[in-house]
Symmetry: C2
Subunit: 353 residues, 2 copies
Amino acid sequence: DYDSLDKVIIGVVGGDGIGPYITSQAQRVLEFLLDDEAKAGKVEFRTIDGLTIENRAQHNKAIPDDVLAEIKKCHIILKGPTTTPRAGDPWPNIESANVAMRKELDLFANVRPVKVPEEGIDWMFYRENTEGAYALGSKGVHVNDDLAIDFTVTTQEGSHRIIKSAFEYAKKSGKNKVTVVTKANVVKATDGKFLDVAKEIAKDYPGVEWDDWYIDIMTAKLIDPKRRTNFKVMVLPNLYGDILTDEAAEFQGGVGTAGSANIGKRYAMFEAIHGSAPRMVEEGRGKYADPSSIMRAAVMLLEHMGKIDKAEALSSALDKCGVYEKKYVITGREDGATGAEYAEYVMETLEKL
Amino acid sequence: DYDSLDKVIIGVVGGDGIGPYITSQAQRVLEFLLDDEAKAGKVEFRTIDGLTIENRAQHNKAIPDDVLAEIKKCHIILKGPTTTPRAGDPWPNIESANVAMRKELDLFANVRPVKVPEEGIDWMFYRENTEGAYALGSKGVHVNDDLAIDFTVTTQEGSHRIIKSAFEYAKKSGKNKVTVVTKANVVKATDGKFLDVAKEIAKDYPGVEWDDWYIDIMTAKLIDPKRRTNFKVMVLPNLYGDILTDEAAEFQGGVGTAGSANIGKRYAMFEAIHGSAPRMVEEGRGKYADPSSIMRAAVMLLEHMGKIDKAEALSSALDKCGVYEKKYVITGREDGATGAEYAEYVMETLEKL
Ligand SMILES: CC(C)[C@H](C(=O)O)[C@@H](O)C(=O)O
Ligand SMILES: CC(C)[C@H](C(=O)O)[C@@H](O)C(=O)O
């Protein structure tokens, strides 16, 4: 509960590529909306440098220790995209900074809304965010040149807290329907565990309807206009959540339009779900990067702080300024608006609301 | 090479629920098309019973030994859907019969075409079919009540043979483009291995363009009409292949319209990719079950036997009889056609071609 704190510290982590461009625009809008709180000393924005691929590579660590220490002094993090090293890159094969952050800060719930009002789509995804295929993601083994093994880890407690959150949300929001997505017919131990925990929790929510589907057929169901509106709240192990939320975001205009909240007991992190697009920056087009996704993350940040009116104001300003209605087009090129112009347009719109 | 055999034995495994209804219709059509070969003693159809959930449950085995022995006497299997036990079912939690069959017969390539000509979609999926998350799928461990672990296993040889098949097909078909789909940014050991092997194999195919994407964003790309036509041949580890082919089939009319070939060195198995729909049978609607998917599998069976003309004839007869063009509607209810009527209509159409 943030009201009980003397001051809420919001750390702004730019990340790589277009990250600093878009996070700074989201920060401007947040500062605009939280101006009173900041003046009263109740909110502080803090820029946190060093979560860049160069610095991470130099320390050979997903999050260098001093950066993590700074981050842990904050309550809330607004995070730009970070480059994930991959084979063939000039960087060491360190773990994704996103994934490391989720684990280090124990941000167990990755909450992703997708809305397409004109098509009746109003989905909320609760993705388990610390275990599953990600638990030991970088610690798989090359037994020898011929054989590699990775591990999927699911705990009772890890499943319980995310599924419980999903049911709680379904109840409170009045959506009253939860869909559990696994591949328990094949991945029997871990997904079976997840499904078993769901069955137990469902008993405590007699008013919430629930069903369960396998991830393969779920990707098909989301496409079918007749069936997809049956889904309200979905709860999934980490990897399936990763997959299904990217697909779902496409109906709304792509991953570039979707924000993401990573919620834990102590910390919360809000991020864009697209990549760091380093080429845009190399080609001098960083300032044309579209901040829509991180702005959507800012809406979730405000909601999470309990600033519901401000969250709603920002959300409807964003609706008006494009993304869903495409009135204001960010093209990523010089014939489009810059991120700064977009932020200004959003603030003007907020003033008129 | 089937020409060198005295006789090709085609085993027809009905499976569960609607399985026997639809496989028998596909068998009728195949017997019609292979009538000359059968009369000359070059082809024999053999009905194989016992791959039912009741029998599997009784033996507490995914494939009872005697059934497997019968199957192994055949060269080619036409298989109906089988019920996969799941927690809460009256059956023991045995492994999926599909999955067991793929492993027992070493059917390493799961080949699934998806075509929507009017939208420019012409995809061929090469799904690795024996390892990955499925390798030890039923052998994950419940370490204790709080902790479950599953394993993903990828071998050099297992990756090599499927990726090589995909590149060979891309070259021979003139599609000349392969997309490798992994989650190598997170599942680093096994998916990293798969991607590494792909990079090596690609070097042997200078005329075949290739790229690689992560499974999360691939599910979004397939939806985008502007980007999805860029994909031709996709090769994926088992679980991602499972997921992406269900999504892909939806564009063509759903999993009920897609056939699937499971190819190994010694055996090949052709199956419907939908479920066994036991409720249809319980409600007396088995004969109304749509055999489209297994008929598409029969097309692939003919192709695989080298009966290219017959495969093409059946394929265009199926096109004419609905599925894609929806002229002939199987509703699954009494107001629709029965599977037998559909098969007769297909045979009439074949006679007119
Ligand atoms: C970049 C990648 C490691 C990350 C993930 O797999 O979680 C991303 O896809 C996401 O969904 O936030
Ligand atoms: C039934 C199930 C075990 C199977 C799989 O996961 O492979 C099915 O989804 C398929 O794609 O053939």
